[in-house]
Amino acid sequence: MSSWFEAYKGEISRELENEVLKIALERFSATYWSKRNAAIKNLPYYNYYRKRAREIKTWSIEHIDELIKMTKENIESLGGTFYLARNAEDAVKHVTKICEERNAKLAVKAKSMVTEEISLNEALIKKGIEVVETDLGEWIIQLRNEKPSHIIYPAIHLTTEEVARTFSKTLNSEVPPDATKLVRIAREKLREKFVKADIGISGANVIAADTGTVLLIENEGNIRFSTNAPPTHICISGMEKIVPTVEDAVLISRVITPNATGQLMPVYISLITGPSRTADIELKLTLGVHGPKEYHMVLLDNGRSKMMEDPDFKEASYCIRCGACLSDCPVYREIGGIVWSHKYMGGIGAIWTTFTHGLDKAAPLALTCTTCGRCKAICPMEIDTPTMILKIREKLLKAGLTPPQLISIAENIKTYGNPFGALR
């Protein structure tokens, strides 16, 4: 029972000595902090936005059933399908079925943490479907067979030099460590995939119930390609992403962007409301013109209902996935998000993991936190992660998952009156 914590500490130790990671995180930390602050300074209404965003999310979580129903009705009336998946297995089965029924050979993907959560890629590949990640960071880690280390920057644990090494290996020819050249290669290699793909899979940053609209934020243009070029678009998202209106969704995007990437606005915001359509000929409605003919929305529960109903943890469902808490976390700064994650990283990841994958998977995450409160201070939604971390630690103790090394600290206090086991 003790061994897992010792083994985990060994992994942390290796990350602390990982020279590539050290350089990558040093560069990231300095750049993120200055860019994010500059963006916030240039947003005079930022505090209004974030306070309103919290109100919107609070209301939405209280009315989630109503919002799901509204979203479903709107998407179906647009000619799309809607599916509420109870758990990971259910979601994977549904998406796989859609792909198989269309005899899909190739799926292109926009970055989506929910598909990481349910291990969708692995399932599709098993069915013989080629899956290509099209977000540059995601593509890099797909080539390396790694998991994302940050919800916004999946390959932030790597340096330019390391990415060049990966590309050189994949292409079997020497690629210089030059970001411009690396991006050029991604552009060339991925372009053909967009056109050939049978299925485009995306996540959602926000969903507006009153119109069934999905809002997607990006800079690269890969989301536009993935959701536009293939004949079928599958949007898969956590059910907590729904807000009442498009205006609410846009407001939330104004809070996500500066905190995620230090921009005032992202290069692209896509608002997608059902499949592509025209009525140019005799006002006859025809689906699938230049965009997808088919549109499928899959909303995932997978523990979210339980989280939303739990007064101790409900607040975690207000998370808009901007990643600011990770980007300026003192622990993340040292070890990044490969070791400090199951699927979701860091402190907020510990809360999410408890509900999506179970307490045992959350244990190492919750125990690697200084409870310093930096995450709560930077969080635009003011989510009290440190308090929830302590609630998780309570659960760990009750479940017998607290390592003996930590139990002994508690025992020292009870026996000797101090945590060090010193005799007075």
């Binding site: 500490k9 003192p330 310093c372 930590l406 206090i413 101090n418």
Partner: protein, 244 residues
């Protein structure tokens, strides 16, 4: 004036930094404040139990500790430990009616009332590290800064991450005990990235645990990255050094 003050040093100070409690006692002497201490009757406040998720044991311990403190009938409990301070203020309902003070409160009052006589001397360039339990968790940001800027030969410069943005020293949440290598590395980065660009002579803080971790971080950073050797002082220590 009879202060009715009970000095609570806390475990970290008692066992790992006893010289700091000596400094608090010295300061109280300078201020002519009468006080009492619990001696061997002082037990852990139980804060680490909360950090370990053991709320049940905490409640039992807190009830006992509350009784011991109340039996002394103090008007106020003074501690130099932000962990104990946060714990008493937030998780000790039975202490209601007894004022809980951190040493920064005491020093600030003394400075405001002109009770401290600063010696002149060489100029000292310092920065202030916000302990998480005192800053973000208790909202005490201004008091230590007001104290430092009122000392004639002290120049206070801020880190780029300060106040609610301050980087934790790395010791919080029992990480110093549970994963010490990571805990120390956070302190090294704090010294290297946040402190060393300021070219200060000393880092002032107000927490015995932060002092331990920052001292470790500073010596490792000096060794590995050649950053300047730094003095790490608790604000009580600094005040004793600079006053008559």
């Amino acid at each position: 004036m009879r202060y009715g003050l009970l000095y609570w040093s806390g475990c970290t100070t008692s066992y790992l930094a006893p010289e700091l409690s000596g400094n608090v006692v010295k300061l109280l002497g300078k201020l002519g404040v009468e006080f009492r201490a619990l001696g061997s009757r002082e037990k852990c406040c139980g804060y680490p139990l909360l950090l370990l998720g053991d709320g049940g044991s905490f409640s039992e311990l807190a009830a006992d500790v509350s009784e011991v403190i109340k039996s002394e009938e103090p008007e106020a409990v003074l501690t130099n430990c932000p962990g104990c301070y946060r714990c008493f203020v937030n998780y000790y309902p039975k202490l209601s009616g007894i004022k809980v003070m951190h040493t920064t409160h005491l020093i600030y009052d003394a400075v405001k009332n002109g009770k401290l006589k600063f010696r002149g001397g060489e100029k000292l360039r310092v920065t202030y590290h916000d302990p998480c339990d005192l800053g973000r968790h208790s909202g005490v940001y201004d008091l230590p800064r007001n104290i430092l800027t009122s000392i004639p030969n002290v120049e206070l410069v801020e880190m780029s991450r300060s106040r609610e943005n301050s980087r934790c020293c790395g010791a919080g949440g029992v990480l110093r005990l549970s994963i010490p290598q990571l805990s120390t590395q956070i302190a090294v980065t704090k010294i290297k990235d946040d402190v060393s660009p300021l070219n200060v002579d000393a880092v002032i803080t107000a927490c015995p645990t932060c002092i331990k971790n920052l001292k470790d971080g500073s010596s490792i950073s000096e060794m590995l990255y050649g950053t300047k050797g730094l003095a790490i002082y608790d604000i009580v220590e600094l005040i004793n050094m600079l006053t008559e």
